[in-house]
């Protein structure tokens, strides 16, 4: 009912520009964004998008001017992940567009809905190696869900409408629209379109009842069931249904890295994150299970370890909106192509018999006690694990937390303890350094009242630290925690473990004074050497309404444990808590 009302309002609004007569491509562009209810966009101007920026000046939509296009797109990703709305990005042709490539790929790998607009040189000179020309369509073809080049301004409303639909439905992802400058400048009369005509794009939301029945009988027979919950649970907003299903069936749950928060980490049936730096119990459960129910995860190699050993005794059921993920890496007996929420609702509506798994749950419970996460004691510097527990405590486990990739990311995933969906933003599939800080900016814009903590390594932070300018300008209360070990921590860890301590180019002896750096932007900065200091500073600064940068000197040689070495199976964890 309310949806119909919304559609009606939409049409009334939409008629206004149609009556205005001729319109130029740039004004039309802004109108199409307004029709898609775009509230904020992230971008950076340049020659080829001057007409678009001029139209934006006359007919404003909130625009966040990052200091580098890469940061703009990471901010849009953070915004999208936390708000559930598509992130919108605008950059110029050539270098503007190529600077977005990392972010587009990151969004593609982690299924984040983005609509990316790039300027392009005028159609008459495309292909002539004109100034700031790049084949953006060619470059982004393999890293977008779909992309378009606008060849005529009449097509613009249709293309924008399709792009938002494609980016946000099915398995979400980035869609790029390349707009040549002359298209933005051409004038014409156009019609807006509300209907979609995409015969080649029909994502399937409803589960197949035959497969659901197969899952029912598999569950009735299972003695060692486990659920692997991925980011699909978050995208489908299915965490409530997942919790109901788990409690009804009493099945233990493992999260993927990106799925954290989709199931409360404080729940007794939660086993932790699985995979390379997952908990021993989670990996044991995945390894020994006789029924593995994957809900919205893609069996990434960092989760499965060596596929030859992965879930070899298990019947595999896989619920995924993307049929291509089912059976891609792991042979699957029960394929369920569906939206995670629709599938779980269907399952909950049927009378499923809970598996008889008392013994299995007891074994896993025992393992949790015997093989918990652990860290070294003593030594110089702050324990990174203890630091994350402090951050959890002070923010009451309720902050939005973002990270780059590497050691600090794994410690955050292991120790923050996510209990709610949409409070965890990290670069999982692509593993992008420099992602955490700008994505925190986007998350803060999406949730102005939330505490947003950007956790970054000292190396990754230096890849996008120019965005301190944006934080200062917008007075965003982003809390920047630098896990400073004067190294590319994870690279260093691998060199120590697998390359006989040959630290090739992984140590960074010279760093800026991060406190002075923050000060240069008018942001409070602190450096802390001990856990007590860290706790004191964080208590004073993490809950207030000002940005802060805290340079935390962590133990430089601390390792992320436990670990599965590359090429090994889930049963071959090293660095498990010494008995």
């Amino acid at each position: 009912m309310s949806q119909n009302a919304k559609a009606e309002d939409f049409k009334l609004e939409a008629q206004a520009p149609e009556n205005k007569g001729p319109i130029d491509g740039a004004d039309l562009f802004i109108e199409t964004l307004k029709r898609e209810n775009v509230e904020v966009m992230f971008g950076y101007p340049g020659g080829a998008v001057l007409p678009l920026y001029d139209a934006l000046y006359k007919n404003p939509i909130r625009h966040i001017l990052a200091r580098h296009e890469q940061a703009a797109i990471h901010a849009a990703e953070g915004y999208a992940r936390v708000s559930g709305k598509p992130g919108v990005v605008l950059a110029t042709s050539g270098p503007g567009a190529t600077n977005l490539v990392t972010g587009i790929t990151d969004a593609m790998m982690d299924s984040i809905p983005l609509v990316v607009f790039t300027g392009q040189v005028a159609t008459g000179v495309i292909g002539s190696d004109a100034f700031q020309e790049a084949d953006v369509i060619g470059i982004t073809m393999p890293i977008t869900k779909h992309n378009y080049q606008v060849r005529s301004m009449e097509d613009l409303p249709r293309i924008v409408h399709e792009a938002f639909h494609i980016a946000t439905t099915g398995r979400p992802g980035p869609v790029l629209i390349d707009i040549p400058k002359d298209i933005a400048q051409s004038v014409g009369e156009v019609k807006f379109v509300d209907e979609l005509n995409l015969p080649g794009y029909q994502p399937n939301f409803k589960p197949n009842s035959l497969q659901v029945k197969k899952l029912r009988s598999a569950l009735a027979q299972a003695k060692k069931p486990v659920i692997l919950a991925g980011a699909g649970v978050l995208h489908a907003k299915a965490s409530e249904e997942l919790l109901q299903f788990v409690e009804k069936m009493q099945i233990p749950v493992v999260n993927t890295l990106l799925g954290l928060g989709g199931f409360p980490s404080s729940h007794p049936l939660f086993l932790g994150m699985g995979g390379m730096h997952g908990t021993h119990t989670a990996n044991k459960a995945l390894y020994e299970a006789d029924l593995l129910i994957n809900i919205g995860a893609r069996f990434d190699d960092r989760l499965t370890g060596n596929l030859a050993h992965f879930a070899q005794h298990a019947t595999v059921a896989h619920i995924d909106i993307d049929p291509a993920e089912i059976g891609k890496n792991v042979p699957t007996q029960i394929p369920i192509v569906a939206d995670a929420r629709e599938a779980l609702k269907k399952i909950l509506s049927l009378d499923f018999e809970a598996p008889k798994a008392d013994e299995w749950r007891a074994i896993l419970e025992q393992d949790k006690v015997e093989n918990p996460l652990w860290n070294t004691e003593g030594g110089d510097g702050i324990s990174p694990q203890a630091l994350m527990k402090i951050i959890h405590e002070i923010t009451e486990g309720d902050a939005v937390v973002t990270t780059d990739v590497g050691q600090h990311q794994m410690w955050t995933a292991q120790y923050y303890g996510f209990n709610k969906p949409d409070q965890w933003v990290t670069s999982g599939g692509l593993g992008t350094m420099g992602f955490g800080f700008p994505s925190a900016i986007g998350a803060q814009i999406a949730k102005p009242d939330k505490t947003v903590v950007a956790v970054a390594g000292d190396a990754g932070f230096q890849m996008t630290l120019q965005e301190l300018g944006l934080v200062a300008e917008l007075k965003l209360p982003v809390k920047i925690i630098v896990y400073n070990n004067m190294a590319l921590g994870m690279v260093r860890q691998w060199q120590e473990t697998f390359y006989e301590e040959r630290y090739s180019q992984s140590l960074i002896p010279v760093q800026p004074d991060f406190v002075k750096l923050a000060d240069a932007y008018g942001i409070r900065g602190y450096v802390v050497q001990t856990e007590e200091e860290a706790e004191k500073v964080m208590r004073e600064t993490l809950k207030d309404n000002e940005p802060v940068l805290i340079d935390c000197r962590i133990k430089p040689k601390e390792m992320v444990y436990p670990m599965i070495a590359p090429g090994k199976g889930l049963h071959e964890m090293i660095g498990v808590k010494p008995q």
Binding site: I137, G138, M141, P142, K145, H146, Q149, R151, I166, L198, P199, G200, Y201, D322, P323, A324, G327, K328, P331
Partner: protein
Amino acid sequence: MKRIVTATVLNQSGVLNRITGLFTRRQFNIESITVGATETEGISKMTFVVHVDDDRMVEQVVKQLNKQIDVLKVNDITDQAIVTRELALLKVMTTPQTRAEINVIIEPFRATIIDVAKDSVTIQVVGNFEKIEAMIELLRPYGIKEVARTGQTAIKRGSQRLVSESKQFSILN
């Protein structure tokens, strides 16, 4: 193993690029691709001959193609009743002595000579992959100067085999 996969696609600019890019990126090995118009305006049909390691890989080929927005329909038609055809043009060296021989050789293949020069003939042949291979083998001793092949295109037969006919299992074999 060799599979024949067809895809019906929207005739948008860049669609061939999208598909060949996908094949490269996912390490699917293509033997040939043909593209052409269909009975419906704006819709093209592509026929791929791909080499894959196993059934799971061909399933991935089909699924990944299906994910493309401009792709309407994908079929692995290898095991169906189909007709496949390819056209080849062969330029073969000739001498006054061999010209008649070549004529005799190509005759059962229903091939035709479409161009004659002083020291060569150009032969056009249409057929399935094996037939063309066979003719090339027979002509090789005369000296093949150049070969141009279109790659296979395929269509399903009007009447498909019944399931009972296509799967013949017997305890006697």
